[in-house]
C-alpha cells in the first residue's frame, strides 16, 4: 500500500508548500509517493545546498593548477606537475556519528574514499578533523563524550586501516558546544595521471548502466534528509536503520573500479553516497545531458519485499553506478567477477533527459533529471549577528601562577598530545609517510608521482564563535602556516562548513561571515577552494555548536631536503621567533582553560604580515639552514616552545626569553597573536637569519638557545623553569588517562 500524498506527508518529507508546488509544476502532475521521496532527498540541504549555494559561490575556485573545479564532479582535481594530479575532498559524518559513533565514523571514511576513487584516483592518504565535548568531566556529558570519542576513533581506524589507506594527520578539539553533537570531518586525497580523470556523466545513449557492490538493504533510509534536520532526542528515535560499513567490500570495490577505469571500458562512474541510487542516477544523467532508465527488479537486494521507495532511497554502503562503453560489457563483468563483487546491469542511458525508474517493467518514477539534480529552489536565509561577545579587560584579569597555567594548558585535551588517537590509525601503510602525525603538517611521499605532499586541517572554532569572519581567515592562514613550517608551498583548499540550524538568523550570519572570511583568505594565499561539504543543523540540547568552518589544505614540497619538522634537534641551536611577541589574549585557550572564559575579540590577522612571515620561513628552509619550524597557535609561545622541546622522539630543553618585553608574564607566554613561527638554526646560521629578516622587513626575535633538560623562559623579567618530564607527563598522557577506563 503506497500512502496517498497529503500536505502532512509532504511536510514530513521536509518539503515546503512552495517546493511542492514547484514539483507539481515541474512534473505537470502530482508526484507519487516514490517520487515525493526522490524529491525530498534531492532537494534536501545535504544534496542541494539550497540554503548555502549562494554563499559557496563566493569562493575562489580557479587557478593555474585547477583541473576539475569545485562542484563539477565528486571532488576537485589539482595538477601537481610531472603529468600527475591529485583529487581531494573533505566530508562530514556528524549526525550518523552522534547516533552510532563507530559505524557513523567508519561509513564517513568509506564515503570520502569512494568520492576520490570515483575520480579515477588511487586514494593515498586520509586526514580527520574531530570535535567533541569535554572528556575529563565526571557528569553525564563527560561519559557520553568519552563514549563518542572512543567510538569515532575506533570507527575511523576500522575503515581506514582495513582498506589500507593511511590516516596521516588531522586535528581534535574539545568544547562544551559539541556536547552530544560531535563533528567528524574526514579528508581523503588520491593520485591520478592528469590525463585520466574519470567523469560522473552518463554519456553515450544506449550505454549500459551497471550496479556494482553490496546488495541494497534498508540502511540509512533517507539519511540525506536526516542530516538536514536538527539532532534532537526525537530524531534519535526515528533515525534510519544504521548504515554499517564494510571496509573489506570497500577495498574490493576500490580495486575493481581502478582496474575497470584503467581498462577503458567505463564511460561514466558515480558512487552511491547520500541518497544512493536516486542521486547517482539523476546526477549522472544531468552531467551527461542525457537520461537514465533503470529497473529496480534488477537491483541486487539484501532483504526481501523492499518497496521502490526503499530501494531508491537506501543508503547502503559500498555501491557504485557504472556506465559502460557499448561492447565492453563482458570485459566489465569479468572484472567484477574477479573481485567477487555482486553486480547487475540495471538499465541504459537514454536520450530523453528523464530519470525513469521501472519496477519490474512498470514506470514508477519519471522526472526530468537535470531539474531534479540541479534546480532545487535556492534560498537566501535571514542573517543577524548574535550579541557581541563579552570584552576582556586585561588589567582586571587575575594573574595566576604562570608555571601552573602552562601545565594546565598542556593537559587541556585540545592541546595535549593526540597519541592515543593516532596510534590507532595505521599511518604507515603504503610506505610513504615521511612526517607522521605529531608535527605541524603531515608529509607523504607519493611514490607513483615521485612527489612530496604536505597536508593539514585547521579551524579554531573558539575564534569563530567570537568572530566567525576573523576565525575563518585565521583557519586558512594557520593551515598555510602549518604547510610552510613543514617546507611546503600551499596549493589548494577543501573546506567543511559545520554550523547550526540555518533558520536561526545568527547561525546563518555566522555561516556567511565565515564563508566570506574563508574566501578572502583563500584569495590572498592563492589557494583555490576545490570542493568541500556543508553540514548544518548541528545542534545539541544546549544550542548550536560553535561555527566550525574546517579548512583542509594541501601543499607541495619540491625538494626532499626542505622537509622540516616541529621539534628542536641539536644542543646549542639558536631559537628565533619569526614575527612579534604579540599581546592579544581575547579568544585564547588560556582565557578559556585557565580562567574559564570564552570571551574577548580573537586575534586579528594581517595578511601582509602573515604572507611575509611565511615567505621568509619558506625561503630560509630552502637555504637549508632551518632545523625546526613550528607555528604558534593555541596556548601561544609557551605551548609552542614546549612542543618543540618534547614532541620529538628525543626530548631536548631550551632557554629562551625576550629581553625587550615588558608586561605581564601570562600575556607573554600565552597570547595568541597571529603570524608567528618558531624556528631553530645552527649558531653559525643565526646571522644569516637576522640579516635576511631585516632585508625583507619581517620582525624577528632572537629567543635563545636549545639545550639542557629544562624549558626556561624569561617572561618580562621573571624566569620560569619547567623540567622536561614535568611538561611531558600532562601533555602526553592527558587523553590517554581520560580514556583508559571503560565507562558507559
Amino acid at each position: 500500500m503506497t500512502p496517498t500524498i497529503t500536505p502532512e506527508l509532504v511536510h514530513r518529507h521536509g518539503l515546503s508548500e512552495h517546493e511542492f508546488a514547484g514539483i507539481k509544476a515541474l512534473l505537470g502532475r502530482e508526484p507519487n509517493f516514490t517520487e515525493l521521496g526522490v524529491f525530498s532527498v534531492m532537494w534536501s540541504e545535504h544534496c542541494s545546498y539550497k540554503n548555502t549555494r549562494r554563499e559557496l559561490k563566493k569562493f575562489p575556485t580557479t587557478g593555474p593548477r585547477v583541473l576539475v573545479k569545485a562542484g563539477e564532479e565528486n571532488a576537485g582535481v589539482i595538477d601537481i606537475g610531472g603529468g600527475w594530479a591529485v583529487a581531494f575532498k573533505m566530508e562530514s559524518h556528524n549526525h550518523p556519528s552522534a547516533v552510532e559513533p563507530f559505524q557513523g565514523a567508519a561509513t564517513g571514511v568509506g564515503g570520502i574514499i569512494r568520492d576520490i576513487f570515483t575520480m579515477g584516483a588511487r586514494p593515498v592518504f586520509l586526514l580527520n578533523s574531530l570535535r567533541f565535548g569535554p572528556i575529563h568531566d565526571e557528569g553525564e556529558y563527560g561519559r557520553k563524550n568519552r563514549k563518542l570519542i572512543r567510538g569515532v576513533v575506533a570507527g575511523i581506524a576500522h575503515y581506514g586501516n582495513c582498506i589500507g589507506v593511511p590516516t596521516i594527520g588531522g586535528e581534535v578539539y574539545f568544547d562544551e558546544s559539541y556536547n552530544g553533537n560531535p563533528l567528524v570531518n574526514v579528508f581523503c586525497l588520491g593520485i591520478l595521471r592528469r590525463t585520466e580523470i574519470a567523469r560522473g556523466a552518463a554519456s553515450g545513449v544506449g550505454n549500459a548502466v551497471f550496479y556494482v557492490g553490496s546488495e541494497t538493504g534498508r540502511d540509512g533510509l533517507a539519511g540525506a534528509a536526516f542530516a538536514s534536520r536538527d539532532l534532537t532526542e526525537e530524531s534519535r528515535a526515528d533515525r534510519p536503520a544504521v548504515q554499517v560499513g564494510d571496509p573489506f567490500r570497500g577495498k574490493l570495490l576500490l580495486e575493481a573500479c581502478l582496474e575497470l577505469l584503467a581498462s577503458g571500458a567505463v564511460a561514466g562512474i558515480q558512487d552511491m553516497g547520500a541518497a544512493g541510487l536516486t542521486c547517482s542516477t539523476c546526477e549522472t544523467a544531468s552531467r551527461g545531458g542525457t537520461g537514465v532508465q533503470i529497473d529496480l527488479a534488477l537491483v541486487p537486494k539484501r532483504e526481501p519485499d523492499m518497496s521502490p521507495y526503499e530501494i531508491l532511497l537506501s543508503e547502503s554502503q559500498e555501491r557504485m553506478l557504472i556506465i559502460v562503453q557499448r561492447g565492453k560489457e563482458e570485459q566489465v563483468k569479468r572484472i567484477f567477477e574477479k573481485w567477487d563483487l555482486p553486480y547487475s546491469k540495471v538499465g541504459t542511458v537514454t536520450n530523453d533527459g528523464f530519470m525513469r525508474v521501472l519496477d519490474d517493467g512498470s514506470v514508477e518514477v519519471e522526472i526530468p533529471a537535470k531539474q531534479l539534480a540541479d534546480d532545487a529552489p535556492i534560498y537566501e536565509r535571514e542573517a543577524a549577528p548574535p550579541p557581541a561577545p563579552e570584552s576582556i579587560d586585561i588589567s582586571k584579569l587575575e594573574l595566576l601562577d604562570p608555571k601552573r597555567s602552562l601545565l594546565q594548558l598542556l593537559k587541556h585535551p585540545s592541546i595535549a598530545s593526540k597519541n592515543w588517537i593516532f596510534r590507532q590509525y595505521d599511518h604507515t601503510v603504503r610506505a610513504g609517510t615521511v612526517v607522521p602525525p605529531g608535527s605541524d603538517a603531515a608529509v607523504f611521499y607519493v611514490r607513483e608521482a615521485n612527489r612530496f605532499l604536505a597536508a593539514t586541517t585547521d579551524c579554531n572554532s573558539l575564534y569563530c564563535c567570537l568572530d566567525p569572519r576573523e576565525g575563518a581567515r585565521i583557519a586558512v592562514a594557520e593551515a598555510a602556516r602549518n604547510l610552510t613550517c613543514s617546507g611546503a608551498d600551499p596549493l589548494a583548499v577543501t573546506d567543511n562548513l559545520n554550523f547550526g540550524n540555518p533558520y536561526k538568523p545568527e547561525n546563518f550570519w555566522q555561516l556567511r561571515e565565515a564563508v566570506e572570511g574563508l574566501a578572502e583568505a583563500c584569495r590572498r594565499f592563492g589557494t583555490p577552494v576545490t570542493g568541500g561539504n556543508v553540514s548544518l543543523y548541528n545542534e545539541s540540547p544546549q544550542g548550536s555548536i560553535d561555527p566550525t568552518p574546517t579548512v583542509g589544505m594541501i601543499g607541495l614540497i619540491e625538494d626532499e631536503a626542505w622537509i622540516t619538522r616541529q621539534y628542536f634537534r641539536d644542543q646549542g641551536d639558536i631559537v628565533f621567533l619569526v614575527g612579534e611577541v604579540g599581546h592579544e589574549i581575547g579568544g585564547s585557550l588560556y582565557l578559556k582553560a585557565v580562567h574559564g572564559r570564552k570571551a574577548g575579540a580573537p586575534p586579528r590577522l594581517n595578511f601582509e604580515k602573515e604572507l611575509a612571515v611565511q615567505q621568509l620561513v619558506r625561503e630560509l628552509i630552502r637555504t637549508g639552514i632551518v632545523k625546526s619550524a613550528h607555528d604558534c597557535s593555541e596556548g601561544g609561545l609557551a605551548v609552542a616552545l614546549t612542543e618543540s622541546c618534547i614532541s620529538g622522539s628525543e626530548k631536548i630543553g631550551a632557554t629562551v626569553g625576550a629581553p625587550d618585553f615588558q608586561g605581564r608574564p601570562d600575556i607573554f607566554l600565552f597570547n595568541e597573536s597571529q603570524s608567528r613561527i618558531i624556528i631553530s638554526v645552527a649558531p653559525e646560521a643565526a646571522a644569516q637569519v637576522e640579516s635576511r629578516a631585516e632585508e625583507v622587513g619581517v620582525p624577528l626575535v632572537r629567543l635563545g638557545e636549545v639545550g639542557g633538560r629544562t624549558l626556561t623562559i624569561d617572561a618580562g623579567g621573571t624566569s620560569f623553569v619547567w623540567s622536561l618530564d614535568q611538561l611531558h607527563d600532562p601533555w602526553y598522557f592527558s587523553i590517554v588517562r581520560a580514556l583508559a577506563h571503560q565507562d558507559l
Binding site: 534498508r218 544504521v242 554499517v244 564494510d246 532483504e303 554502503q317
Partner: protein, 90 residues
Amino acid sequence: MSTPLIVFRMKLEVLVMPKRTVLDPQGVAVRNAVRELGLENVETVRVGKIIEIEFSAEPDEKKLNEICRDLLSNEVIEDYRVVGTTTSFP
C-alpha cells in the same frame, strides 16, 4: 580430611547478535567461505558475541540488564539475550 568449601558460582551468558535489518559484513564473508568449503546449502550466517559471566553472588537484575544494554551490546545495531548457561565449555 577437610570438608570442601562450598563456593557459590552462577554462570550467565549474554548473547549479542546484529539486528536482522543491519548489515553483518562478517556474516557475509563467513557465509561465502563456508560455501566455498563445500557447504553449499548455507543460506545466511550472522556472527555475534557470547559473553560468559561468572558471579560469586546473585547479581542485581536491574543493574545486570542495564549493563547488558549499555555496555555489552549496542542497542542501535544489536539485540541481546541473557540465558542461564547452556553450553559447557571447560
